[in-house]
């Protein structure tokens, strides 16, 4: 075995050991070097070094397992343990002119476009981004040409299997929507039953060209031993409309971060989120919306439902720069606590440097209304069924804003979560 240099410990040793500095084309190697330097400097508290990236899926996954998580009518790329498995794809309905391939394939013959965008948008200083970039292996590369209207949703399905040692899956997606194009991208993160803890990091760089319309959905439903860290970086050109939707039930600890820059006039951004947590789960949703120029719009609605001793946090920053006159921004975070020991931190933040803007924000943390509960019981409905009716009503608003193809699934997942929430490990 090759000796690891004495200085290298922890994450740096993992990096050296896997010879990551030599993987991929030059621009990626540079990005990796910068990322590992960032990681070394940050000295993350969490022991990410124990999660080892693996060079192939830990086991083969067959169609019956995948079928449970497919979305009817979608164009699908399937990934297992961080690696694309072409045999499981469903791409025959891909419209002409649309590029959808695995990043590992794209990196074998990198185009200028790829080099221009990959690892150029997400904040290199961010811990999750640094981890993901240093160990970047695979993911999806989507390029929708100008004026293309992709009707079928594009589903990027990631499955984590049952690894023997704690493994890390670093999934990277690059989504480029051309001028006046339209598409819906759904990212799913699924944990197949696992006795062991695994780490998944995901970084999605989404670039919406002038007047493009992009809906992006993230379904995070890993098992209760997993750790999940994600960053979505959104960059919008003039008049681009981006609508992002998060649905999170999984992982022991999850962090779904968003970093969105409205850098051209007319940009319109919607961030919706629904997270459900129970037991000892930890959920963090840090979001940043940066209104960098005049005439941009953002709407944000995040809702959380916490039971057991779950902990949640929403840290929502809306920045309005000095040049960003006529900004129109509204941010809401609403939370429902189903138990005495659940805890939610809600921190909506506004930083306004312009003087002709419309900005609002609000935050609530509450419990089910006892009057409403008694009313439902007085009509013969069991207390638990009554709680489900009221919880569903609370979550409904966020689900209704999501793209139609995922709504029935989310209603099912919500009911399933509710039914299993008292049984540790039974969720997702």
């Amino acid at each position: 075995m090759k000796a690891v240099s004495q200085a290298a410990t922890g994450i740096a040793a993992t990096y050296q050991h896997g010879n990551w500095a030599k993987r991929g084309p030059g621009f990626l190697r540079e990005a990796r070097e910068q990322a590992i330097a960032t990681l070394n400097a940050k000295k993350p508290e969490a022991d990410f070094a124990r999660f080892l990236p693996i060079d192939a899926p830990a086991r083969a996954v067959a169609e019956p397992e995948v079928a449970l998580y497919r979305i009817a009518g979608a164009i699908e790329l399937v990934f297992v343990d961080g690696h694309h498995v072409p045999a499981l794809d469903r791409v025959k309905d891909l419209p002409r002119g649309v590029t959808l391939q695995s990043l590992s394939t794209a990196l074998q013959r990198p185009t200028e476009t790829l080099e221009h965008h990959l690892a150029r948008h997400a904040d290199a200083d961010d811990l999750t981004v640094a981890l993901n970039t240093a160990f970047l292996q695979d993911g999806a590369f989507l390029q929708v040409p100008p004026h293309a209207d992709v009707e079928a949703p594009i589903h990027l399905l990631h499955l984590a299997t049952e690894p023997r040692a704690p493994t890390a899956c670093h999934v990277r997606h690059l989504l480029l929507a051309g001028e006046l194009s339209r598409c819906t991208v759904i990212e799913s993160y699924v944990g197949l039953a696992s006795p062991d803890a695994g780490l998944t990091t995901t970084v999605t760089e989404l670039v919406a060209g002038p007047g493009a319309h992009v809906d992006r959905v993230k379904l995070q439903r890993e098992n209760l031993h997993a750790e999940h860290r994600a960053v979505l970086a959104v960059r919008q050109d003039r008049d681009a409309v981006v609508r992002d939707h998060l649905f999170s039930v999984g992982a022991a600890a999850s962090r779904n971060g968003i970093d969105a820059i409205l850098g051209s006039p007319g940009g319109d951004l919607h961030l919706g989120g629904l997270f459900l947590a129970t037991g000892t789960q930890r959920v963090e949703c840090p979001t940043l919306i940066d209104h960098a120029v005049h005439h941009t719009t953002s709407r944000e609605l995040y809702k959380g439902v916490l039971d057991g001793a779950a902990r949640g946090s929403f840290i929502g920053m809306v920045k309005v720069r000095a040049d960003a006159q006529k900004t129109d921004s509204g941010q809401q975070n609403r939370n429902l606590l189903l138990s005495e020991s659940a805890l939610m931190h809600s921190l909506p933040q506004l930083e306004i440097h312009a003087d002709d803007v419309k900005c609002s924000h609000g935050s609530t943390i509450g419990q089910l209304n006892p009057e409403s509960l008694f009313f439902l019981r007085s009509r013969g409905i069991d207390p638990e069924a009554a709680r489900l009716i009221l919880t569903r009503a609370f979550a409904q608003e966020v689900i209704d804003q999501m793209p139609e193809p995922v709504r029935p699934l989310l209603h099912d997942l919500l009911a399933q979560w509710f039914a299993c929430r008292k049984v540790a490990g039974a969720v997702a």
């Binding site: 007085s378 009509r379 013969g380």
Partner: protein, 257 residues
């Protein structure tokens, strides 16, 4: 003795010497009341006399402590039952202040409620299509516009619409014992007449109603068989429907003695 004459009817509701505390304060102080199937009883009394407490304690609202006395509902210990068990066994409370449930459609809610009742009786669930027919027919019975069926429960309803929605729920669930808590409060005369009409259509020989009200005016429209005056936590006077008129003329003061 030969059983040639019919046996004395068993009361549907038998309340004996009921004492109830709320937050350590005694509100009902030895209330007794007997109600038979098919009867409509009016409970009248000044504010704070315990009228609403009586309705709520019968429906099983949390926060009320029974310190003494008993309530038998067709021979069963009503106070030992959970609110949902009482409801499925035919007890219905029409709320004075109906709650709003945004995001819960009226139709969906009523189907859940009806199916909970049917399950209790060992019957199958009503499917969505059959239920829609049923609820439209019931809405016509109580004079409610169909547009309220798809809205959230009481969401943006006027006071009259909310009260009518309570009566719609009663029409769907077909209780044996209906408790109407200040159903007239906040209604103008037209709305009151409408709601009372709905209630009257639901009168039947199998169903008893206990109508709690502060005003005699409701009893012009829902004519009771018996009227009771509740004062200081107990019934101080009982009589026929003429007692309500008497109270209207002389006020509750006259019943003190």
């Amino acid at each position: 003795m030969t059983p040639t004459t019919s046996a004395p009817r068993k009361p549907l509701l038998l309340i004996q010497d009921l004492h109830v505390e709320v937050d350590g304060k005694e509100i009902l102080k030895g209330l007794s009341l007997t109600v038979h199937a098919g009867e409509v009883h009016a409970i009248m009394g000044p504010n704070g006399s315990g009228k609403s407490t009586l309705a709520h304690v019968l429906a099983g609202r949390p926060g009320y402590t029974v310190t003494k006395g008993s309530v038998l509902y067709h021979g069963k210990d009503l106070l030992a039952m959970e609110p949902e068990e009482r409801a499925r066994d035919g007890v219905f409370l029409a709320f004075q202040y109906p709650v709003e449930l945004p995001g819960v459609s009226n139709t969906y809610f009523l189907r859940e409620a009806l199916n909970a009742h049917r399950k209790h009786k060992g019957l199958g669930e009503v499917d969505a299509v059959d239920f829609l027919d049923l609820i439209k027919q019931k809405a016509r019975l109580v004079g409610m516009d169909d547009k309220f069926l798809s809205r959230g429960v009481n969401e943006g309803f006027s006071g009259g619409e909310k009260k009518r929605n309570e009566i719609l729920q009663m029409a769907v669930l077909e209780p044996r014992l209906a408790l109407l808590d200040e159903t007239d409060s906040g209604l103008d005369i037209d709305a009151l007449r409408n709601v009372a009409e709905g209630v009257n259509k639901l009168r039947s020989p199998e169903r008893a109603m206990v109508v709690v009200t502060h005003y005699q005016r409701l009893l012009d429209h829902i004519v009771p068989d018996r009227v009771h005056v509740l004062q200081g936590g107990r019934i101080v006077k009982s009589g026929g429907k003429e007692l309500a008129l008497e109270l209207e003329q002389s006020g509750y003061e006259a019943t003190k003695a």
